[in-house]
Amino acid sequence: MSVIDLLINLIEVFIYPGVIFVVFISLLLEWVDRKVYARAQNRIGPYYVGPHGILQPFADILKLLAKEDITPGHVERLEYLLSPMLILYLSLVGIFMIPTGAWGSGYSVIHFEGDYLLVLTLATLTTVFMFLTGWGSFNRFGAIGSLRALLLIAGYEIPLFICAAAVILEAKTLCLSKISAIQGGGIWFLVTQPIGFLVSLISIQAELERIPFDIPEAETEIVAGWLTEFTGRKLALMRLANDVKLFLFSSLVVTLYLGGPWFMGQANIAIFLVKVLVVVILTSIIRALFARFRIDQALSVFWKYVIPLSLIQVIMSLFIG
């Protein structure tokens, strides 16, 4: 490997379409989310920092970074110190496997047969770390919040994986880049698997802990849930990780059902970002339209309706495939 190859790799990982680009886009998506949510509620939303408040998420993160970073005396130090970094890190690694169409290529930064499964595993791992931090923070609200996060996993992970099976059955590959390329050459899986798209949208709503499934951090019940003991830099990292997760899961939906970066036979990052924007706006509107489920109600929704729906999707794609 020559020096130039190494340099290109480094740029791909750290600058474009790597870490810096991802963080930048994630924060912009947070702004979109907040703005859409606010407009749906007849509010103005972020307004002062930058034009129409577009820089507000950046300002929030900077503010949190400058705040005092308190480590309570009674927490499990290892989990407490590591988990903000790990959650952010895992979400970032996930995005490297999403074909963003950067440099006009239809392949992601890292791509191999089976990267789809790795992305799903990383998503589960972030929740496990959330549980560990909440549990290790020795806070009663944190403990309840993290238990709820674990309970919720039993609801949303299963339909998400079953839908993954449906997509894999139709695409006959485990590589996300190839899955999106197949749709680029033919029709979007949204058309062939509309139920899968719906189920994925609902599941990522739970994965991202957004209304109606923001149960693990339901503020009126358990303060901030597993996040209760976090301040300063660690909270900033957690919030950033949340935004990156929003980007990761909406781009996962785009890759699986909306043809990823492909449009008219060409891979293009602008197309990709527009599709991500559409998914983010969809999830924001869902967030504005619903109230919060109770944990038992959320689980029964998933087991009574969402999982059977995803099974129907698998059977359908078996017949289509």
């Binding site: 509620q41 209304i211 504005a288 109230a291 489920f293 944990i295």
Partner: protein, 394 residues
């Protein structure tokens, strides 16, 4: 260390509580098995202060007992003093008093509906109801010059008359509000998630409501047919036509529906009052010194029955004023509702009585248990400190 149950403190500072009160919940998994309320964080000594002010000054003092139901407090107070004085308030003044009281109720119930929506994580409804509540506040500002503390009720009448412009504006806003409230009623009746979070949650049986002395919408949501406006009419309520809203379902959803229907009733009532409004003066002058005697006055505040007891010794200052606010009457009921509830339902249940802690805390410990409370809190504090340090050493 302690028992098989985890204890969760909620309050005095907690996002679900807008005001300081403390509940210690014993929980088993997600189920609440025991509740221990502690009141007194917002004690302000208003009753004692009232003894050192004259009757006119006290009107403004009692307005400050509660920012939300300020009209109810002043109405109750001035009617009590008027009864001691034996003055006849001009009928137009009484009608205006009823109007401000009902406007007060509409804004309080809209505010409460928003808070309930917020507690179940439905922030969109919260934003919408609070936007509509602004219109009521604007109307009140137009009528009295103030948004929160109106200084409208006086001993002997009200401060300002209304003219044709205010009346037409009022009718316009009210018809818009009726439309909005009917829309919210439809949402609360039909939305699956709101139903899932409120139906069969925080059930207060009719017999329990009566035994525990629940008042206001909390009792009416449990099928207890009581309303001071009808049972013991004051101001102009004898001449106004209205229905007492009673729901028999006994849960948080019924309490919500009671309040929404009461908004609609209040709108009708104000329009009725505007139609029947007699002409004439709105205020009569009253002497500063109040003859000796005792009086009890009751009004139906947005949260339920509000009671004032005044003892006069013939001077210009009251000898004793005792206030019993509706929230205090509802605290035993809310503790009953909270046992065997889920943690996720705590905010909804606490919100379902529409607690107004600052009103309540003035009374609880002033006379009855003043000394005792300090003893308890000191011991609690020491115990807490000991436990805390044990935990740290571990």
């Amino acid at each position: 260390m302690c028992s098989e149950y985890i204890e969760i403190p909620v309050g005095p500072q907690h996002p679900a509580l807008k005001e300081p009160i403390r509940f210690v919940f014993k929980i088993d998994g997600e189920l609440v098995v025991g509740v221990e309320p502690r009141l007194g964080y917002a004690h302000r000594g208003i009753e004692k202060l009232a003894e050192s002010k004259n009757y006119v000054q006290n009107t403004y003092l009692f307005e400050r007992v509660c920012g939300i139901c300020s009209a109810a407090h002043t109405t109750c107070y001035v009617e009590a003093v008027e009864r001691l004085l034996g003055v006849e308030v001009p009928p137009r003044g009484l009608f205006l008093r009823s109007i401000i009281h009902e406007l007060n109720r509409i804004h309080s119930h809209l505010l409460w509906l928003g808070i309930l929506a917020h507690e179940i994580g439905f922030d969109t409804l919260f934003m919408y109801t609070w936007r509509d509540r602004e219109l009521v506040l604007d109307l009140i500002e137009l009528m009295t010059g103030n948004r929160v503390l109106y200084a409208y009720n006086l001993i002997g009448g009200v401060r300002y008359d209304i003219d044709a412009h205010i009346e037409s504006q009022m009718r316009k806003v009210l018809s818009y509000l009726r439309e909005r409230t009917e829309y919210y009623k439809k949402i609360v009746e039909e939305d699956k998630l709101i139903r899932a979070r409120t139906v069969d949650v925080g059930v207060l049986k009719r017999s329990d409501a009566i035994i525990l002395g629940a008042v206001g919408p909390t009792a009416r949501g449990s099928g207890v047919d009581m309303d001071i406006r009808r049972d013991d009419p004051y101001s102009a309520y004898e001449e106004l036509s209205f229905n007492v809203v009673v729901y028999k379902e006994e849960d948080a959803h019924a309490k919500t529906m009671v309040r929404i229907d009461e908004i609609l009733e209040s709108i009708n009532m104000i329009e009725d009052a505007l139609n029947k409004m007699p002409s004439g003066p709105v205020y009569v002058k009253t002497p500063l010194k109040v003859p000796e005697g005792e009086v009890i006055s009751r009004v139906e505040a947005p949260r339920g029955e509000l009671l004032y007891y005044i003892k006069s010794n013939g001077t210009e200052r009251p000898e004793r004023v005792k206030v019993r606010t509706p929230t205090l009457a509802n605290i035993p009921a809310v503790c009953k509702m909270l046992t065997q509830a889920y943690i996720a339902d705590i905010p909804v249940i606490v919100a379902s009585i529409d607690p107004c802690i600052a009103c309540m805390d003035r009374i609880t410990f002033v006379d009855v248990r003043k000394e005792k409370v300090y003893v308890i809190s000191g011991r609690e504090l020491r115990e807490y400190a000991r436990k805390w340090y044990k935990g740290v050493k571990k």
